[in-house]
Each structure stands twice: as C-alpha cells, then as structure tokens.
C-alpha cells in the first residue's frame, strides 16, 4: 500500500493453522529448542515487533488456504471456496 495512496495503518492479519508458528510469532517467551534458529524465525518476530504483521491461529477447517495445499473432499472444498467465491 506504499505505492498507491491508500491508508493502511493496521498490521496485516495473518491466519495460519500451524500452532508452533503462531506460538513462536505471537509469544515473547517462546523460543525454539534448537541449536540454530533460522533467519526466517527472527524475521517473523522482528516484523511482529515492528507492527507489520499479527499472527493468529485458526482451525484447519476454517483456513481458506487449506484448499490450496491439499486434495479435499467435496464438502470442505465447497465450504472453503464458498467463503470467497461463488
């Protein structure tokens, strides 16, 4: 939204169904039990600190992007795509 003159002062709300990702990017205390933490981990947390993004968890059945990564049954496909297409 920088290039076009439209106001967008809230963070980008990111909804994700992976609990670890949400925990690590929304809790301050959370650290990885790893010898080396990836750049991506600090990049995500840096952006949360800067107020660029805000991450939250949604159930897998409610995640609209789920249909982009899996072959689903008819009912769940209809529900997920029904939220943004018709």
């Amino acid at each position: 939204m920088f290039g076009i003159p439209i106001e967008n002062d809230e963070p980008t709300y990111i909804l994700c169904d992976n609990e670890t990702v949400v925990k690590n990017s929304s809790n301050v205390e959370s650290t990885l039990n790893k010898k080396h933490s990836a750049i991506a981990y600090h990049f995500a947390r840096w952006n949360v600190a800067a107020g660029v993004i805000a991450v939250a968890w949604v159930p897998t059945g409610e995640n609209l992007a789920d249909a982009m990564t899996k072959i689903l049954s008819e009912s769940s496909r209809d529900y997920l795509f029904g939220n943004w297409t018709y």
Binding site: Y13, C16, W46, A49, A67, M68, I71, L72, W84
Partner: protein, 199 residues
C-alpha cells in the same frame, strides 16, 4: 466461462477417436485417494503425452483467468508433464468433467471491512520491542499522502508438510485479502525439503 466451455469442446473433439473420455459427473477435480507420485499405470504414448501437455496448458490459462478452485490440482498434475502416466491423464480428464459440472466461478470483490474477531490476535508488540530494539516499519522515502478510507489486509497461509510421498517436498499456499476482496493467491510446490516450519 466461455473459455471453459470452448476448452471442454476442443478436448472433446481431440479425444473423440481415442479410448479416453471426459467423465460425466465429477464432484471434485481429483480423487482424494489418488496419489500421483505413486501411480504405477503404464506411461502414455507420445501422442497422448502431447494431448496431456495441451490440456495442462489450457487449464493453466483457465486458472489465470480466475478458476482458483483447480489451482492445486493443476499444480500437482503439471509436475508430470514430461512423462505422464495413464492415471494422470484420467485425473486430468476428471478436472474437465468437474469444469463441465461447474462451469462458472466468480470471485467476491467485497469492499466492506471484514467481519472479524480481533481478540484472537494477541497484540503486544511492545513486549517484542525489548528483544528487537531496531524494529520499526520501513517506509519508502517518497510516499504519496494516503487519502480515502483505510483498508485492512488479511492473509491466510498454509503448507502441507512433506506432502509428496517420494521427494518429501511440501506444498505451500496463501490467499491475500484487501478488506474482503481476494487480491493474490498462490499454490506452489516448495523447492526445498524442510524438517519443520521454522527450520
């Protein structure tokens, strides 16, 4: 919609003299039990391989025109373009059957603010600031002055971890909404093998 109908008619014409046919009723683009990487059916003849590649080309163009509901299936089947097997072609014809059953798809372009439960977001960027002192949103030096109503961007992200049974690669997908209008979507196989999300 016209493109979809024309594509189905073209394919009907070119498979008329072969043993392949488009299934009449298909509720989903692909069978959920079908695993393309473990398919052991015989490989297609050169003519049928050309047909497979033509069909992939048509469907990829259809996804560009807004058929977002077959994105993932096309992405899966495009991986087998160089040596497709009979099972893959059957699934591809099934996608045409699905398009025949559901020829129309429209995206909601809703400019209203999303109906949203903001309480699920724990917003304490202040606490994070202690760890990342230099964290501040970067703005370009030359930026036009914003006018009009402000917008809210929402993103849905997902990944299927190690979905491919042979290469163990993951598939990632995301949808980006501005207010309630979808503006960007993607379904793509990842180029690396990952151990976890924050590896």
């Amino acid at each position: 919609m016209d493109y979809i109908k024309a594509a189905i008619d073209t394919i009907r014409g070119s498979i008329k003299d072969t043993r392949w046919k488009i299934p009449g009723i298909a509720k989903t683009p692909m069978q959920s039990s079908f695993v393309p990487e473990l398919d052991q059916t015989p490989e297609l003849s050169p003519d049928d391989t050309t047909l497979y590649q033509e069909m992939i080309g048509m469907l990829r163009w259809a996804t560009e025109l807004g058929r977002v509901d077959i994105l993932h299936e096309i992405s899966i089947l495009s991986q087998y373009q160089s040596s497709p097997r009979e099972g893959h072609l059957e699934q591809l014809l099934r996608i045409f059957g699905f398009l025949h059953c559901k020829p129309k798809l429209t995206l909601y372009m809703d400019s209203q603010l999303p109906v949203f439960d903001y309480s699920i977001f724990k917003m304490e960027p202040g606490e994070f600031k202690e760890y990342y002192r230099d964290a501040e949103e970067q703005f370009p030096r030359v930026m036009p002055i914003p006018r009009g109503k402000s917008v809210v961007t929402t993103a849905f992200v997902d990944a299927s971890h190690a979905a491919n049974k042979i290469t163990r690669r993951s598939h990632s997908g995301h949808i980006l909404f501005v207010n309630r209008a979808p503006v960007k979507w993607m379904s793509k196989r990842q180029q690396t093998v990952e151990t976890s999300a924050f590896s």
